[in-house]
């Protein structure tokens, strides 16, 4: 056993998949940041709000005012350097730090695919994606033909984890037995040409998409892994993500996944992509002699032993973290304890309405807060159905009104939530004074239980 493990870690494979992965990843990140900026989201999500929702333990990570733009510029430049493989280690470190900082600034914008980017860029810190076809390799005149096999496999494993968990978490009664929430979302796609008024309205189609999505997610890592099914799997990947792109507002995620899965193909495919890239460079009249020369070098890349250890620990955590929801009692979709960072995608249609009551506990007087005074519409929407955000905002309000001279401040919330088409019900215990509660990883007993059971994961 020990031998075979050692054997595995000594195996080498072509460096080309890492080079292709690095290029695509870097350029997609660059495009993502430009897109984010051009839509005005830096302003509307990070500059405009007067209050920001923090992740537990990262309360000090806040937007930097106008310097937030500088942060995005740094992130964009580093992603470009990653793409071309310029001072790769440093660039990917700066990218990882700046991107993750951006994501930590406000919980409102949490998306699984942003988390995916952080996770992948962390892995890339320890994987020599600049071994070949990079500015670093060419300028040092030392290009590597091979890299340790485990470095490429780590990225494959990470993609496999994302898909697999995304599939497993779809095994629940709402998704499979009621086609929820897809039924609601697909039916509302009335205006799509040809299929909007026909296919999208058919019940069998809602079930087909639910079950198909579940089987797709669970099986795609395996189909990509085996040579015989790989091409078919890639066709599925493209078709699936294009479909989701048409149906749902999911930004750059489909493109990131499509281009990432190319890493499963063997070296020949990646060399074709590299040669095609050279042609593009030549089209723009760039000298490519050194680039071509570098591809013929036959060095073997050795990886720092600590990197291997870090990756093994990190990947183990990646397998464990999505399972932490099992430690909490109650309905996961309702309580959302252990919901984030678990590749649970598109599982819920959840909307809430939460109004906060500031009470003078001595004088029996109260007033309601107008949420518009403190939160943007996007923040209100997200806060209304997520318990940790309700608590954080409620405590912020309490502190704010204390600082305004109010006395004996107690904060209560009248919160109602509807989940996957169920009629709304009261969400947070209305008699719980939010000022007396503490956020923690412990079970949030002040959430009223869902009057229904969702079976499965």
């Amino acid at each position: 056993m020990k031998d075979s493990t050692a054997n595995y870690f000594n195996k080498h494979t072509s460096a080309a998949p890492l080079a292709v992965f690095r290029m695509f990843f870097g350029f997609l990140m660059l495009i993502s940041i430009i897109r984010f900026w051009s839509k005005g989201w830096i302003h509307s999500l990070y500059i405009e709000p007067i209050f920001h929702f923090s992740y537990y333990g990262f309360e000090s990570v806040k937007p930097l005012g106008l310097y937030t733009y500088a942060l995005f510029i740094i992130c964009a430049i580093s992603s470009f350097f990653v793409a071309i493989g310029y001072k790769y280690r440093l660039s990917v470190l700066i990218f990882f730090l700046s991107f993750t900082y951006i994501e930590l600034m406000d919980k409102t914008t949490y998306l699984n695919h942003y988390y995916f980017v952080s996770v992948v860029s962390f892995i890339m810190l320890f994987v020599p994606c600049n071994a070949m076809f990079s500015y670093d390799a060419i300028s040092a005149q030392k290009s590597y033909k091979t890299v340790p096999k485990w470095t490429v496999d780590t990225l494959k494993l990470m993609l496999g984890i994302v898909y697999f968990y995304a599939g497993v978490t779809k095994i629940n009664s709402d998704w499979l037995l009621n086609a929820m929430p897809l039924k609601l979302w697909l039916k509302s796609k009335y205006d799509l040409p040809f299929i909007g008024q026909t296919l999208m309205q058919q019940e069998w189609f809602h079930f087909f998409m639910s079950w198909g999505g579940m089987f797709y997610d669970i099986s795609i890592p395996f189909l990509l892994l085996f040579r015989k099914t790989r091409s078919f799997a890639f066709v599925l990947v493209v078709a699936f993500h294009i479909t989701t792109r048409i149906l749902f507002p999911i930004g750059m995620f489909p493109y990131i996944m499509i281009l990432s899965t190319i890493i499963f193909f063997d070296a020949k495919v990646h060399h074709k992509i590299l040669h095609f890239t050279i042609k593009i460079l030549e089209f723009f009249k760039m000298k490519t002699n050194n680039v071509k020369l570098s591809l013929s070098q036959v060095n073997h890349y050795k990886v720092w032993g600590t990197s291997r250890l870090i990756i093994v620990v990190f990947m183990t955590l990646q397998i464990i973290i999505p399972l932490r929801s099992l430690l909490y009692p109650g309905e996961l979709f309702w309580n959302e304890q252990g919901y984030r960072f678990s590749w649970r995608v598109m599982l819920m249609e959840k909307k809430g309405s939460s109004i906060f009551k500031i009470v003078n506990s001595e004088a029996d007087s109260f007033f309601y807060v107008n949420n518009d005074d403190f939160l943007t519409p996007v923040q209100q929407k997200q806060m209304s159905f997520q318990p940790d955000m309700i608590l954080e905002y409620g405590q912020y309000l309490g502190d704010y009104f204390k600082s305004q001279g109010h006395e004996n401040v107690a904060v209560f919330v009248e919160s109602y939530v509807s989940l996957n088409g169920r009629l709304s019900q009261q969400f947070i215990d209305p008699s719980a004074n939010l000022m007396e509660l503490k956020d923690s990883f412990k079970h949030k007993f002040w959430i009223k239980p869902l009057n229904d059971e969702i079976k499965g994961f």
């Binding site: 839509k39 989201w41 509307s44 999500l45 914008t109 998306l111 699984n112 695919h113 609601l184 979302w185 039916k187 509302s188 796609k189 009335y190 205006d191 008024q197 309205q201 749902f248 507002p249 999911i250 930004g251 750059m252 995620f253 995608v345 598109m346 249609e349 959840k350 909307k351 809430g352 309405s353 109004i355 500031i358 003078n360 007087s365 109260f366 007033f367 309601y368 807060v369 107008n370 519409p377 996007v378 209100q380 929407k381 209304s384 009248e414 109602y416 939530v417 509807s418 088409g421 009629l423 709304s424």
Partner: protein
């Protein structure tokens, strides 16, 4: 495609096989919005004529005609305030027509200096529209007779001029918004997709916003003091200077909400496709839509039991005002969570990414 013919407002509707959002937009535009403007616009024109007439001959019957037409237009207005769309949004139509309480100091200042800009100065929102007329027609003296004497006094000519300026501005922007609705009608009804800027999403968002702010907060919550630590604000009721009509106005507004929700035509009994039938289609039953309608009728019942004059109601029994606020809040919850969920309509105008 089959569409339900729901000509009754109660249950027993067929759940239909398919749904066309464009039909909702056509029904709302052609049978609610445009007829409401067709009713409202001439009323404002008449109001302006009556004020012009009153300025030429300030008599008691002429004053009473002005007051009567003001009241009728104010009622009619309740059917339009929720449509804060297109030209209305651009011109701040509803802010200019009905920001209350009116700012007496602002109005007096405008009159005294005779320098004011009702069109583009946001600070003058509370110095024009129905609330300003409310003050100028009912707030200058205790009785109509004394009001008449006030206007007959040549020293108060500036008041008369301001009255005319306010109503001219109201007519002008009403004309503009009305004309724009006629102009954009075809484009508006054909924007039936489900995006942040599509017609149905804007209508739905405006409807909820109006129900929450225009109706629940402004007409009940703020005067009843629920946003100000139990300090009631009786002067913040709608039409404070003639507050005997505050209940009528709120019932009119709730009626407009009910009609929009159920797709009932303006001033006729027929109904068409609406949010209600869309909800029924999406949920395959009528549970949610009838729960929502129940909240509307419960609220109506509570309002009916109030004093005609909300200022009096607040002074004598504010708890009943708060009861209405709470009942309307139950409606807000259903509209914001249940309805938006099943219709898959985004609550904001920002196209943020999801995953």
């Amino acid at each position: 495609m089959a569409f339900s013919c729901s000509d009754s407002t109660d249950s027993n509707e067929n759940v239909i096989d398919n749904f066309d959002r464009k039909i909702i937009l056509e029904n709302v535009t052609d049978n609610i919005i445009l007829p409401a403007f067709n009713d409202f616009n001439p009323r404002v024109a008449q109001l302006k004529e009556s004020i012009d007439q009153f300025s030429i001959s300030p008599t008691l019957p002429n004053l009473e005609t002005v007051q009567e037409l003001w009241f009728e237009s104010y009622k009619s207005w309740q059917h339009l305030e929720m449509f804060n769309i297109a030209k209305a949004e651009e011109l701040y139509f509803l802010q200019k027509m009905n920001t209350y309480p009116a700012s007496v100091s602002r109005i007096e200042n405008n009159i005294n200096t005779n320098i004011y800009d009702l069109e583009s100065n946001n600070n003058n929102w509370s110095a024009q529209g129905f609330p300003a007329l409310d003050y100028l027609l009912f707030g200058l003296a205790d009785t109509n007779f004394d009001t008449l004497i006030f206007y007959q006094n040549n020293e108060n000519l500036a008041y008369l001029n301001y009255l005319k300026a306010v109503v001219s501005q109201m007519l002008q922007i009403t004309n503009m918004v009305h004309q724009d609705w006629i102009l954009i009608r075809d484009i508006f009804v054909s924007s039936s997709e489900n995006s942040a800027t599509s017609s149905l999403n804007m209508l739905t968002n405006d409807f909820i916003y109006y129900f929450e702010k225009g109706l629940r907060t402004n007409k009940f919550g703020i005067p009843a003091g629920v946003f100000s630590g139990n300090n009631t604000r009786p002067a913040n009721v709608e039409a404070y200077y003639n507050s005997t009509i505050s209940k009528i106005l709120s019932l009119e507004a709730l009626g407009a909400v009910e009609d929009f929700f159920s797709g009932k035509s303006y001033n006729t009994a027929s109904t068409g496709e609406s949010l209600k039938s869309y909800i029924n289609y999406m949920t395959d039953n009528t549970t949610l839509s009838s729960t929502i309608q129940m909240k509307f009728s419960d609220s109506k019942q509570l309002i009916n039991s109030l004093d005609d004059n909300f200022s009096n109601q607040i002074a004598t029994d504010n708890d009943s005002m708060i009861d209405v606020f709470n009942k309307l809040q139950e409606g807000v919850v259903l509209l914001k969570t249940d309805m938006l969920s099943v219709l898959s309509i985004s609550v904001d105008y920002i196209d943020a990414d999801g995953d």
